[in-house]
């Protein structure tokens, strides 16, 4: 696929268009440009929708205008008197005010507003000119050019060309998608030269950022950045081109009607001719197009070029690409400069930073965990976490036909949210299970996948501690939507039906203010609870701060010794406007936690939205943050899960894996990119790590590259945690066997599911390590595992469908589809990374001969220079 380098410039163009849209809505556009905006809207529904949205914002803002009432009668009278009085200020002013007014009278007009006059005079000269010839030039097959006449020292505006392409072969109406870039500008120049002969002024007036006329200060500089334009249009009849100068600032209103034709710029700057008549060129479209095609400037029916255009403008059409040999020469000097500076920027970014290890560099380049040499660092340490918000969030992106952003895909949460099939330990708080089999989705031959599963002890309902729950419910107006409040009631009823005589529940509701709905009541008093819930109705705004403060006060007053004391916050997170002091609120949560009250937060009906506040609160309160989107989910969350939600069996749970350098060359951890803990902190119990509720389970996956011929264990896994009831930290360890299954196919079904889910997430992340895998492969694997589903739990089937859907979002199933620049940059990154490995020297010190290392370094340096050179050549302006 042809890479089209115009994307950034296209962004500029889109922004410029947006800005014109805003100006149009505010009545700040010349009527003719306004018509242009109207035309865009009629051709582009998205643009029209944007206009409606913008209109709505403006309406809201205007509506929100406060009534000011006006000056008081005293003031008015004073002003009337002042206006009548011929002279003498002090006669009617009290002394102190007189002093102030003297400032007002003399200092302000004289000293603070003097530049008003200067602005004023240039303000008069400002004129927003619209292109007067645009209408006639739109006739297909006709070409007109013009530029604002120069006049006065501030002029010298350069015209940027915008080439509007649109294939009309099978469309009645030509879509006009402006693309602005210096390449297209240069290409435009080529076309012009071809048609009109090689006149110097083409390259100068339509060239690039340097322009023949140096932009003057102020207006002209901004002009050069933006507004003059020539548009080319492809129609059934051929090419038409026209210029747009909307927003061009010229010196005199009269000039707007004298937008000149392609001028001799050098002449104009020497001798401004503000009254120059427009000059137009007529060129039969056929001829223009024919010549352009003949010269190879535009490929006729070129699929590659249309594809490039599609990438560029998001729609079908024909774009004018860059000539294969690039643009060279002094006329496009500015272009070249820009191009080079962009290349330099990228190259500079790829330099290693002071003190940066090769591994850190890898993470910076690709955002993935690198393979780590066991000889250098045999340890991998991380905190456990049972959050599962990421797959739900990404799922909703995919359902809407979009790929989620990389940052939203947290691989470990994908793995943990699917069945992982590990039996709960009987005695210990946490149990471990390790499986090892050949890796199926690896980009490296011979690697193995190590799956470490951790499962928390189940607490039989009879054995769990009594729960003193204070529910804090958001009953603001937005909770009315989608029956969110009903969802909360449903959730609480499900929960209460799981509770018994050991438990008590209190309810606080908040909207603009907070109020006590139900004082602590035994969970068996169902009628009272149902009646209290039934009385909740939504309305008003959201004052979560007051709600939580009241909730904490209540929980403290009715603290249950030896029980699970929890505050549960239910909110949709909409407009938490009452929070004037976020830190204070978080501090209060932490303080309550230290007194034994934990906080669970439940996001209700939030779709694909994560609420930072809810998550932070749960984090500080040592509880979980869960999201509830529907009744089924609520039931799944609360049914038989009281202990899982409200009784942590392990706190600050950390895992440390130590690989054996005798059997493993390298390893990489899959996921947990943001959960790494410094190896030395494994036994630092002050480091906050994950809380694990009863029955919960966590998986960690490693891809390891075994040492050839080795047979022993791959390493040891250590698990450390504090029991949920407090007390001494406990530690357990377990060896990683070389294999639990010698073939991938014979490994356990849950193992294969975890592997496939990890591959799915890594592909979504665009991981460096998942480039060789396709989503259809992954989908097929997942679909083969649906037997893991039960009647109540169809997660595997649902996942298979989701992966299929996601597969459809990658063109041609290719998960890694780089353009030329991407590929070059990627190669350059790899080169730099390898050099950094060599320079680091630790990995090669013993193993290879010095001579070989030097040779390799030389090779890499050469390759690097070559890559840099190619990058400079390839990069667009």
């Amino acid at each position: 696929m042809n890479h089209d380098p115009n994307i950034d410039s296209n962004q500029d163009e889109i922004q410029k268009r947006d800005e014109l849209l805003t100006r149009d809505l505010l009545g700040e556009l010349h009527p003719e440009v306004s018509e242009e905006v109207e035309r865009w809207c009629s051709e582009d529904p998205e643009f029209a929708a944007k206009r409606e949205e913008r209109r709505e914002v403006i309406r809201l803002l205007r509506e929100a205008t406060p009534t000011s009432g006006g000056l008081g009668e005293d003031s008015r009278a004073r002003l009337r008197r002042a206006a009548v009085r011929k002279s003498g200020v002090s006669s009617w002013l009290p002394g102190a005010a007189a002093a102030a007014l003297l400032i007002g009278f003399f200092v302000i007009p004289e000293l603070l507003v003097p530049n008003l006059l200067a602005v004023k005079s240039s303000g008069e000269r400002r004129h927003v000119a619209a292109n007067k010839v645009s209408d006639s030039a739109e006739t297909p097959g006709e070409v007109r050019f013009n530029r604002p006449a120069a006049g006065g020292k501030d002029s010298g505006a350069r015209i940027d060309t915008v080439i509007v392409g649109g294939q009309v072969r099978d469309q009645k109406k030509s879509p006009t998608v402006p693309t602005r870039s210096s390449e297209t500008a240069a290409k435009g120049v080529e076309v012009l030269k071809e048609v009109f002969g090689d006149r110097n002024q083409w390259t100068t007036s339509f060239g690039a950022t340097s322009g023949a006329v140096p932009p003057a200060e102020g207006e002209a500089v901004r002009l050069a950045n933006g507004v003059g334009a020539i548009t080319f249009q492809y129609t059934d009849e051929g090419i038409s081109a026209r210029s747009r100068n909307e927003g061009t600032i010229v010196d005199n209103p009269a000039v707007s009607s004298t937008l000149a034709a392609p001028p001799d710029l050098s002449k104009q700057t020497k001798n401004p001719r503000p009254t120059q008549k427009p000059e137009s060129f007529r060129v039969p479209g056929d001829e223009l197009r024919g010549r352009a095609i003949a010269r190879g400037l535009i490929a006729e029916n070129s699929e590659a070029e249309s594809a490039a255009f599609e990438r560029n403008a998001g729609r079908g059409g024909l774009t004018l690409g860059l000539p294969a040999d690039g643009i060279e020469g002094k006329d496009k000097r500015g272009d070249l400069e820009h191009r080079i500076s962009e290349a330099e920027r990228i190259i500079a970014m790829l330099h290693s930073r002071p003190g940066e290890t090769p591994d850190a560099m890898f993470f910076r380049f690709w955002g993935d965990n690198p393979f780590v040499a066991v000889k250098l660092d045999p340890l991998s340490t991380f905190g456990l976490d049972v959050d599962t918000a990421s797959p739900r969030l990404c799922g909703s992106y995919i359902e809407r036909g979009l790929l989620p952003p990389k940052a939203a895909v947290r691989t470990e949460e994908f793995i943990n949210s699917n069945p992982i099939g590990i039996a709960a330990p009987q005695k210990d708080d946490l149990g471990m299970n390790i499986e090892v089999a050949p890796s199926r989705y690896s980009s490296k031959e011979g690697t193995r996948l190590v799956r470490i599963g951790i499962r928390a002890r189940e607490i039989p309902d009879a054995q769990r501690k009594g729960l003193a729950l204070t529910v804090v419910v958001d009953v603001s107006g937005s909770m009315k939507r989608e029956n969110r409040l009903e969802l909360v009631k449903q959730s609480l009823l499900t929960l209460v039906s799981e509770l018994d005589g050991r438990d008590s529940i209190a309810i606080v509701a908040f909207q603009s203010t907070a109020r006590l709905v139900l004082a602590p009541t035994s969970a068996t008093d169902i009628d009272t609870i149902v009646a209290a819930l039934g009385a909740l109705s939504p309305g008003g705004s959201t004052n979560v701060q007051q709600g939580l403060e009241l909730g904490y006060a209540l929980a403290l007053r009715h603290f249950k010794e030896g029980g699970n004391n929890h505050v549960a916050l239910f909110s949709d997170g909409v407009a938490n406007t009452g929070i004037t002091d976020v830190d204070g609120l978080l501090g209060k949560t932490a303080e309550a936690h230290s007194m034994g009250i934990d906080l669970n937060s439940f996001g209700v009906g939030m779709g694909n939205h994560n609420d930072a506040l809810l998550e932070q609160l749960a984090d500080r309160g040592d509880g979980q943050c869960s999201y509830i989107d529907g009744v089924a989910q609520a039931v799944h969350l609360f049914r038989r899960n009281v202990a899982g939600l409200f009784q942590a069996v392990a706190r600050d749970a950390k895992v440390q894996v130590e690989f054996d350098p005798e059997t493993v060359v390298r390893f990489r951890q899959i996921g947990y990119e943001n959960r790494a803990i410094a190896d030395a902190d494994f036994r630092n119990d002050a480091i906050d790590a994950g809380e694990i509720g009863a029955g919960q389970q966590v998986i960690a996956l490693y891809e390891v590259e075994p040492r050839a011929g080795s047979e022993g264990n791959l390493g040891i896994v250590r698990l450390r945690w504090q029991p949920g009831s407090g007390g001494e930290f406990l530690e357990r360890e377990m060896a990683i066997p070389p294999f639990t299954a010698e073939k991938y196919e014979t490994s356990g079904a849950h193992f294969r599911l975890s592997a496939a889910v990890a591959a799915f997430a890594e592909i979504l992340r665009g991981s460096y390590w998942a480039r060789s895998t396709t989503l259809s492969e992954v989908a097929a694997e997942i679909e083969s595992l649906v037997s893991l589903d039960t009647r109540d739990d169809t997660r595997v089937r649902d996942l298979g469908q989701l992966v299929r859907k996601a597969a459809g979002l990658f063109p041609g199933d290719a998960t890694w589809a780089p353009n030329d620049v991407d590929r070059l940059v990627d190669e350059l990154k790899r080169n730099r990374w390898m050099r950094s490995l060599l320079e680091d020297g630790r990995e090669t010190r013993q193993s290879a001969q010095a001579e070989e290392v030097r040779k390799l370094a030389d090779q890499l340096r050469k390759q690097n220079d070559d890559l840099e050179k190619r990058l400079r050549e390839l990069l667009p302006g």
């Binding site: 947006d18 800005e19 805003t22 700040e28 949205e53 913008r54 914002v57 809201l60 803002l61 929100a64 205008t65 406060p66 000011s68 006006g70 000056l71 003031s75 008015r76 004073r78 002003l79 009337r80 002042a82 206006a83 002279s87 102030a100 007014l101 007002g104 009278f105 302000i108 007009p109 603070l112 507003v113 530049n115 008003l116 006059l117 602005v119 004023k120 400002r126 102020g218 901004r222 933006g226 603001s476 107006g477 937005s478 939507r481 705004s541 959201t542 949709d572 997170g573 909409v574 407009a575 938490n576 406007t577 929070i579 004037t580 976020v582 009906g605 939030m606 779709g607 939205h609 506040l613």
Partner: protein, 182 residues
């Protein structure tokens, strides 16, 4: 009769013309002044009154005021600036609080909100804008000033005004969409 004509009449001795001018512009000026004075109505009224008085004086002294309305806003702006400098600490605290709230929460999901929440969301996100953007948006939305007048009042260039207004609206649209207001 347009503003310049009113000024000319006033210059010629028709004091009623000035009253018409005051009547016509006091409300929007006051609105603007209030925004500039951090919400204080008293300080705003002072600034507006002084601006009108300054204009009376300037006209009497034979000054040509070419864009009288922009001129008035400009004076109000300078007065408000002085007033604000005095209790800057209060303003900064106020703005900081607003910003904290605005950044402390992610935009909530996209659906229409209740009126009350809508208004508070709008206020919230508006107050999280840069103060210069707030000022320019107020001049446009609440005071109906043209881009050119705004440029003159604030000392920005026309293109900057256009960019700031567009940028501000864009930012607001995003936030309000996120908050389910639009």
């Amino acid at each position: 009769m347009d503003d310049s004509a009113l000024i000319a009449r006033f210059k010629a001795g028709d004091s009623g013309a000035f009253d018409v001018l005051v009547e016509r512009h006091q409300e929007t000026l006051l609105r603007y002044a209030r925004g500039q004075c951090g919400g204080s109505l008293d300080a705003a009224a002072d600034a507006v009154q002084e601006a009108f008085l300054a204009m009376i004086h300037a006209v009497r002294n034979g000054k040509d005021i070419l864009e009288p309305i922009a001129w008035l806003y400009r004076v109000v702006r300078n007065r408000a600036f002085d007033a604000r400098r005095k209790d800057r600490r209060m303003i900064e605290r106020h703005q900081e609080a607003a910003r904290q709230v605005a950044t402390a929460q992610e935009p909530p999901p996209g659906e229409r909100l209740e009126d009350e929440e809508k208004r508070s969301a709008l206020r919230l996100h508006f107050s999280s804008l840069e103060s210069e953007v707030q000022e320019i948006l107020r001049l446009k939305m609440e005071c109906n000033r043209s881009y050119r007048e705004i440029a003159t009042i604030t000392g920005h260039s026309l293109a900057q005004v256009s960019r700031l207004i567009h940028g501000g609206l864009d930012h607001l649209a995003q936030r309000l969409r996120g908050a389910g207001v639009i």
